[in-house]
Amino acid sequence: MRVSITHKRAFSVGLFLLLFAASAALMLGAGKYRTTFKESVSATVKVQEVNNPLVADLGQEGLPKKLVQPGRLAISLTGYADEAGNPLWVKAELEGGLKDYATLDSTVLGFDASKGIFAQPLEPKKTLKLTVNLKLPAQRIWFADSPSISEGTLVFTNYKTGGKLGTLPIQLVSSGKSS
């Protein structure tokens, strides 16, 4: 009887330790899983220049996101002005195929999302925050027959003078698709 109780207790303790270790490993594994995909895109752009194309790869998203929200993506941009010059009255506008699926947003006070206009001027050496929210239909992603999903160009203009400032080409791809 005594032996049986000792064995039972040893089994309980062993099971306890096993569950404990497995759970700790599971939590660390969850942390590791978090690093295996990329679901947010951010970049720094020069408002007054023609920037290099920004490539957003939907193929690097995790499986849950691919299944539930395949066409949703936020591209966070930090735009900065040249070190010298006049304040810029910035208007941001998307052109090209992405235009139909994108909305612009900003945390900057006084930003008019419908027109893409910043109410306050962008001073030299200062930055502005702009988010391009993409909402593509799932079919465009799931049934795409080539890696290139869509593309467009973000155009910055000075709305006081009407002059063009700079551009940022945006390419939306899905690296998992065969061309």
Partner: protein
Amino acid sequence: MKQAKRFTIQRGLWYVGGFILIYAPFAVFQRALAALFGFKPRFDIHDICFRMGLSYTISGKGIALWSTTGIAFILILGTALLAGPLFCGKLCAAGGLSEYVSKLVPERFKINWQKWINPVPVRYGMMTGFLLAPFLQLSVICAYCNYTDLQRLVSAGIARDMGIWTSTTILTTFVWLILLGAFTKGGRGYCAYLCPIGAIQSLLHAIGAKFNFTYKLKFASDKCASCGNCAKECPMHALRVSKTENGKKELAYERLVCLTCSQCVHSCPKSALAYSRGIDGWSANKDKPGQKQDHPRPVIAHESEIA
């Protein structure tokens, strides 16, 4: 049972209060501290994130104690030591939501995870992993946070747009609200197995409960009729009616899982359970003549047997 039902509603109102207290758009607690002490406000759950506080404290990054986060952190740990995990039991809207959502699902569709998997090693294993993660350059704080998910759900409701969710957010919401919530008996699987804040509070409560001046769940074994009402009502399955080897029924209590929500107290027809100060009485239960003491986890009686 009427009293238990009434208390369930009352508890639900507490969780609504907890929501108003710390979640946007209300965030009354954060606003009050900002008004009183001039703290820099953010006015959502992240302002007082206990998980960030815990992780930063352990990893050496530290938190500013004279801040909304610091005050909330001290309050939650202090109350846990002196009165149990009251935040979980009375105010945590995220835990409350999954519990109350599960009440909408018929019992036959729910899984009793605790019957198969002891939550204590899992809960503390998860907490250990959570605390070790920053040392390995891994981030689990916000990625698997149900507080954040609730805030997101509320924001989505207000904006009428789900916004952009990450894979980990989607996974966490599924696990917290669906798998371990709606389809789990008691609806608190996330709390029982995954929440590091609940775990640390219960640990502090287990230490605090050793002192007479602290509040705890007390048991008067001489009054207990072993009816099992308390065990059935406990959303965390911290109470269980078990059968000892000589066939007697006894009430087993796992403080390391208890929320101190007091649902059991209000479901006991014999007033054998109470939440107050003094000696807890659970050891007296073990010492009852004719009952064996050397079984770490007794054989659990099925609900049908209890009935």
